[in-house]
Symmetry: C2
Subunit: 418 residues, 2 copies
């Protein structure tokens, strides 16, 4: 089948399933989710055997050890995938919630009802667990999903999708609720991104190149996550001990993720107190520091920061450090060079905290807490689909609610307009 015919068939199946899935009761969706989780564990041996094909292909292609590790499915990881589906099943159902109800002066009752978006296209790379994570979040929120994983994991993804789709259909989901594009041709993605009639939303997850390609070619709305170049600003009034603890946590607790801190702005009045403790602590933790001239005047051993450093998401044990003359200057600097993802202020001053909260133009703005908390689970949203750096529809961690839309519902008793 040609790429266009293939994806069109998947999209038509998806559209047909959408109305049925949207109307399913929570208990049916949850039963299907639990069956999907069980099926993954029941088919563990077969999943591992299929995964071996991707691993061997990856080795033959000379892929990095890190990528091969991301590809790997072992017993523990399959268990984690199953548990993650069970956690999604246990979350509150977002569909059907009625809110903002008000009675108008004429007696008309107007409110909103939360409903699924419809058909979601998920385009992702590397980790095969995204296949079951994305599918379970879509099922729970009443959305049909078309999955398109990377070629490096095609065999694993196909097997996972087969197993969970079969289990879902067997226990009450409509056929077509969970589909994976079974081929790796790139034309399939190009065609998929233009099926506005069938697909309501595209969510890409992966590297910047993938996301930029999707954004450039999609005529369907896209919610995306670009860089997490997170800043921490240490205000003049900061508690130095707290600042040190938060900086070390935000940089070193898990440096390879989007909510790790990448750059530090330090008010010049607190630099002399903070730096003599902070710099050795960071160095001891193995962090490479790239510093401005003012910092290097006291610590000449440090590497000089370049303009490039202020806009870079290292995803590594590297931190750029700069002194700054005021909270206003820090806010302007962050709005100019940051990536509008998550930025934090460490301060004891109320006015500085409020100015930072109000004026930093980022998806998440923190006062006196590590940027590492920027996460759907930590925010109490149960789980997340990703962290949106867009401003429309969803901004910041996206949970089940962000996979829904609303409709206005209006109750009258024969109302006509004058």
């Amino acid at each position: 089948m040609k790429p266009r015919e293939l994806i069109l068939e998947l999209a038509k199946n998806a559209k047909a399933a959408a109305a049925i899935l949207a109307a399913l009761e929570p208990k049916v969706k949850n039963r299907a989710l639990l069956a999907m989780a069980d099926a993954l564990q029941d088919n563990q041996a077969e999943l591992q055997a299929t995964n071996q094909q991707d691993l061997e292909k990856g080795k033959a292609q000379g892929r990095s050890a890190a990528l091969l590790d991301r590809l790997l499915l072992n017993e523990k990881r399959i268990q984690a995938m199953a548990d993650s589906i069970r956690q999604v099943a246990a979350l509150d159902d977002p569909v059907g919630e009625i809110y903002d109800m008000r009675t108008r002066p004429n007696g008309l009752r107007v409110g909103r009802m939360r409903v699924p978006i419809g058909v979601i296209g998920f385009i992702y790379e590397s980790r095969p667990n995204v296949t079951s994570d994305a599918a379970s979040l879509c099922v729970k929120s009443g959305n049909v999903v078309i999955l398109r994983g990377g070629s490096e994991a095609i065999n694993s993804n196909r097997k996972i999708a087969d197993v969970i789709a079969e289990a879902g259909t067997r226990t009450g989901l409509p056929g077509g609720a969970i589909q994976l594009v079974p081929v790796t041709e790139r034309e399939v993605v190009s065609e998929m991104l233009r099926l506005n009639e069938y697909i309501d939303l595209i969510i890409p997850r992966g590297g910047r190149a993938l996301i930029e390609t999707v954004v450039k070619n999609s005529t369907i709305p896209v919610i995306k996550h670009y860089d997490g170049n997170c800043y921490i600003y240490i205000d003049a009034s900061a508690d130095v001990t707290m600042a040190n603890r938060i900086i070390l946590n935000a940089k070193t607790q898990r440096p390879g993720v989007c909510n790790a801190v990448e750059s530090l702005l330090i008010h010049q009045q607190v630099a002399d107190k903070l730096l003599p403790v902070l710099i050795p602590a960071l160095e001891k933790a193995g962090v490479e520091i790239r510093a401005c001239e003012q910092v290097r005047a006291h610590f000449p051993q440090l590497k000089q920061a370049t303009q490039e450093d202020w806009i870079t998401e290292y995803l590594a044990l590297i931190l750029s450090v700069k002194t700054i003359e005021s909270t206003e200057a820090a806010i302007t600097f962050i709005n100019t060079y940051g990536s509008h993802h998550t930025d934090a202020i460490i301060t004891q001053d109320h006015n500085s905290a409020m100015a930072f909260l109000n004026q930093v133009d980022s998806a998440c703005v923190f006062v006196n807490a590590s940027t590492r908390f920027s996460d759907g689970g930590e925010f109490g949203m149960g789980c997340e689909v990703g962290i949106s750096t867009d401003k429309l529809h969803a901004r910041g961690p996206m949970g089940l609610k962000e996979l829904t839309t609303s409709k206005f519902i209006v109750f009258g008793s024969g109302h006509t307009r004058e």
Copy 2:
């Protein structure tokens, strides 16, 4: 100046103004809005003289009387424009609202703050009052606006924008908060639609051709309003008197607008009771009826409906009428042929009402009320920017809240992640 240079300059001005406007206090924005309203009335004579140029050009080009009427600015209309700005000033300020605050088990407080989107591009046709309406809504919601009206009203739009921008800047708005593209070249729009770095959202208002062009060419997110092909379904259990009253209101009270009803589905069990009253009443009101075979069996004088009628937004005194065998069939028909704008059920049966509410996939779903209530003002939202038929970010009437986004705000006391 070349189109690209011109629009780039406007966009840069806009971006520079956005951070300042976003941080203005409500009282400053309201003072500016009231000054803008006064300025329109103070400059009434000059506005009318300028408007005359557009009217004469329109006449010379042989434009229709309806279009010339839409272009006209007279004393009453200028007063209405000013009053509309004053109403916007009186609305609650949407910016800075904090909601969904919760305390996590670790003591971290997580919530959301409503903030402006940034820079909005408004692309519209015909009526010059949209210039001041759109500008006032954007100012109130803390957004900078770049206005691009149709060539038919260019002189009037330029004058209105000059007057309100001057009044706004004089009373505290940053320069660049309200700008109008002063030329009519189409290339300006093409360039504008690709300035993702400066413009956050495009809202087109006008005919389908305009909206389709914008959607096709924009790399910036667009919120749009396509057709309002609204349906009313009369359930078997409907109160026939109520049904008649609502249908007449929805069709004849203002037939040229998007929330007027265009098609009727009548449960076959109620047709014999309803039609003998309804058909003469509609005919008396001057409505052309296009009916299915079953209706024509009893009213052979009626025109035959074609397949085209079920997907047509007439915006005129025309109504297509069809009998149907069940609520489920009506829901499927509306989801297939309607435009997902506003659809109503007339019923006394709870199960029918709930099935219709849950399953009709439209921005607004009504029970026992005229579709004519589908309007931001009638919904208690104060005013509206338009009615979105999209599913993402805004669906249905868009008020000031829909011109905002949110950011997560997080308060800690030195929290670090384990």
